[in-house]
Amino acid sequence: MTKLTGAQMIWECLTLEGVEVVFGYPGGAILPTYDAMLGYKIHHVLVRHEQGATHMADGYARASGKVGVAIATSGPGATNMVTGIATAMMDSVPIVCITGQVGSKAIGSDAFQETDVTGVTLPITKHNYLVTRTEDIPRAIKEAFFIARSGRQGPVLVDITKDAQQGSAEFVWEVGPLRLPGYRPDLRTLPSELERALHLINNAERPLILAGHGIISAGARAQVLEFAERAQVPIAMTLLGLGGIPASHGLNLGMMGMHGEAYVNSAIQQADLLLAFGMRFDDRVTGNLKTYAVNARKIHIDIDSSELNKNVRVDVGLVGDLRDVLQELLPGVQSADHSAWLDHIDSMKGDLAVRDIQSLPDTGHLYAAHVINDIWRLTKGNAIVVTDVGQHQMWEAQYYKHDHERTLITSGGLGTMGFALPAAIGAKFACPDREVWVVAGDGGFQMTMAELATIKQEKIKLNIAIINNFYLGMVRQWQEFFYEKRSAAPPLLGPDFVKLAEAFGLRGLRIKQRAELQGLVEEARADSGTVVIDFQVEQEDSVFPMVPAGADLDKMIRRPARDVLIETGADADEWELGA
């Protein structure tokens, strides 16, 4: 019988799980595992900060639909992962984090670099393990992958003591179902509930689908479209749902919520039936819960039964994988004609986003909205765009029209600044043949920019757009709107991003005027290496429309009327594309 060390078992398990790449950073308690790595084919990406490793695993998972893997040492290595784990938890992203732990005998003694990592990550993981015996490693890793990718997906952490890595045991990889009696990712709804749902669906006059991340996780695009087209139901999207349904689809209204278009939010408030498909009524999409869609019956389909009736009381809650539940519902969904309702929504499309940027005054400056919309146009909507958090994130959601699933990768639930750059690295490893763009603010970019070194070392090609407004723009906007312009956070002093790129051995470009944009962006795309573009945009611009936090969903701050109507830029005709 061949015996393996625990360290070898870890790589053996990862190989058996089909892992091709891991993102990690070494240290004392995980060194046995690093030592054993050399015998295996898995590619290890050496990151510059363990937070980066978790975001890379996250970006990899979101882009590919597979489980992403991050590795770190005990203590500070593991605590550096916390932000990335919480980010993946909030957005239900399947990642497995493997951390080294001090020797099992030393646990509890405040040994060097000892942190109770399973304790720390208890509330931000779907599940976690502390493994102290070599022979328990395969089972723990196998369960971790299964739990991460099944049911409502999420992060799982496996903390493995140094002596468990060093010890030897017989390697047993159990085939067949795992023994997890308390884990039921496949809970389903009683058939009688389906009947109640169908009754509401077939009798609605003003139905509206709220499409969330679940569409993408469940791969339910075809079912949602069949449903919507047959019953003629318009679709509003959450931020994380974008791309789940083609932006160009006639029934797709676009994004809802805080920075969604006003007519989308008004439609929600006026609907008589809301069909929540794999979304969780986050406060960023509901506004004031007391006045939220009070005229609507609500049907909620979610894989996580604890989401039902959490924020919004629903009339029918259907538990299960969105695709499965829709497949069960579809035979009973009748064709319908809701043209009056659809026409009414059409009539509310007052200040459409695209029309708005056409009318931005040409001050010779660059507007973030233009930048994003130009990137959309030049990439023909085919790029994977990974955004950071802030104003640029919302502009991306408004002005880059995503037709394809898994092409917008963004931290929605946690809103983690610093996410974009590392997550894009992960996405590029998942999809090496795709064009990948980072859209980051000057603030968030500075949080994790050390990963530029990882990019250089791994020789990968990204296009990095820094939407540089010299401000923590979203904070500045809130201060302007809600704190009487008191600016407690002054303008942000950043580095010279062009020189910074060059210092990392990458190419840097600067764009200050719209006229330069097309040429330089094409140059960046054509370059075989990663290019950092410093887009110096209008500094005190704001994202419109906006529902102030906690306000009624349809009480939006609308776009200010622009007095000058000038179409700017090289290919103004092409704007019609997005109208």
Binding site: T118, G119, L122, P123, K126, H127, L130, I147, L180, P181, G182, Y183, R184, L187, R188, T189, L190, E193, Q270, D272, V294, N295, R297, D304, S305, S306, L308, N309, K310, R313, V314, D315, V316, G317, L318, V319
Partner: protein, 188 residues
């Protein structure tokens, strides 16, 4: 209102922590929590009394099910169940007070389990109402300390709870959301 949930959990390290942490994180107020082994090896039983409404209880239940080590959850609040708590009350009593205490102990079917020169320990088992009123009554004397186990509960009758619950219904309280919104007009 207090809801009594029984959770069957895998007897593994850290499970109590996971359950307690869940209630804290979701801002539930735990009134009492007891844990002990069951007739089945590897399975522990928790009785959790939580101060919440019907919707909250459903949410607590659904969240408990999300814990990988939780096998089964049963809300016995509205089921015929035997609910018990054990309480020890240490009283500082003079020799003259002893007879009075003994009489009350008899009335409550409690017991005296320890007597020393200046103190005695009484023990009572019963429903929450009963033990509360016992403690209340004992306040007439000098209470030195009270130790309570928290509630344990068991559904009456011969039925055995299966470790695997069937399909999950829509997680709605019996007189829940559907009826509540029914009063709203369907037109704008």
């Amino acid at each position: 209102m207090a809801h009594t949930l029984i959770a069957y959990v895998e007897d593994k390290p850290g499970v109590l922590n996971r359950v307690a942490s869940l209630f804290r994180r979701r801002a539930f107020n735990i009134v009492s929590l007891t844990v002990g082994r069951t007739e089945q090896a590897g399975v522990s039983r928790m009785t959790i009394v939580v101060d919440t409404d019907e919707l909250g209880a459903r949410r607590a239940e659904a969240n408990l099910y999300k814990l990988v080590n939780v096998l089964r959850v049963d809300d016995v609040t509205n089921k015929p169940a035997v609910v018990r708590e054990l309480v020890l009350v240490k009283l500082g009593v003079t020799a003259e007070q002893r007879t009075a205490v003994l009489q009350l102990v008899n009335v409550f079917r409690a017991r005296v389990v320890d007597i020393s020169a200046e103190a005695m320990i009484t023990e009572i088992t019963g429903s929450q109402d009963k033990v509360e009123s016992f403690i209340e009554t004992m306040r007439a004397f000098h209470i030195i300390s009270v130790a309570r186990t928290g509630l344990i509960a068991m559904v009456r009758g011969g039925g055995k709870i299966s470790a695997n619950p069937p399909l999950v219904a829509a997680q709605l309280p019996e007189n829940g959301a559907a009826e509540d919104t029914a009063g709203l007009s369907m037109s704008v």
